[in-house]
């Protein structure tokens, strides 16, 4: 399986798994961001606060599962997308390795930081 010949979108530059991963994570993010933006901007419109956020997140384990997947999906999609753009500029092998390490470190740091920030809201206590 590979990107169709003659219409290779830029995600293909990172190889088959990067190409496939960008599409799978992208499809999930269309759903996850629709839920996110609806919950934050429509349901809680004008009254977004600690109170309304924890009321929503305490509503059941589904929200914990949702955020457990949403955070890594968005970071993977962002890092993979930036990686594809980076490769478009034909970096030298050294620069390529540096870029890959930088993206991994930044993504893992943001993953930990995102989970730590969400923990009080999911637990309902700071």
């Amino acid at each position: 399986m590979s990107a169709p010949a003659g219409f290779v979108s830029s995600g293909a530059r990172g190889g088959l798994w990067g190409w496939l991963g960008q599409r799978v994570s992208g499809l999930f993010l269309v759903y996850a961001l629709a839920v996110h933006l609806w919950a934050v901007h429509v349901v809680s419109s004008g009254r977004l606060s600690w109170e309304t956020i924890i009321a929503r997140l305490q509503d059941g384990p589904a929200w914990t599962v949702y955020y457990a997947l949403f955070v890594p999906a968005v970071l993977y999609h962002a890092a993979n997308g930036l990686w594809g753009i980076f490769l478009d500029y034909h970096p030298s092998p050294g620069l390529r390795r540096g870029g890959l390490i930088a993206l991994w470190v930044a993504s893992l740091a943001l993953l930990a930081y995102g989970y730590v920030g969400l923990r009080p809201l999911l637990a309902g206590v700071a």
Binding site: G26, V30, L37, H41, L48, S49, W50, A78, G117, P120
Partner: protein, 130 residues
Amino acid sequence: MNARAGYLRRTLLPLVNAGTIAWLLHRVTGVALAVYLVPHFISINAARGGPRALDAELAGFATPLFAVAEWLLIGAVAFHACNGLRIVAVDFLDLAPRHKLLLWLALLACAAVILAASTLFVPMILAPVG
């Protein structure tokens, strides 16, 4: 001057087609959204300071300027999502021969989302903070 205009016509004009503009916009919105994740995660981390810290953080966003920024943000998400769905459809469903039609459908869907978001954000932008 004339020579420069000729150069721009040769180099830039071929880029002015719907597919290339969509590619460029996908890239620009993608980078913007990736960069946005950092301040977004920082503001969510205000939750570690408890209810008062988070509410103070959120209150800081209740200004017309942030309403404009959020509106633009949702516009970027809408375009990136709709155009992304078009890319997935072209790649997975073998719809390359129809990619132009799909592009217009994606733009239509994007415009619909932005219009719906406008009903929410334009009053916020115009209303005095209170």
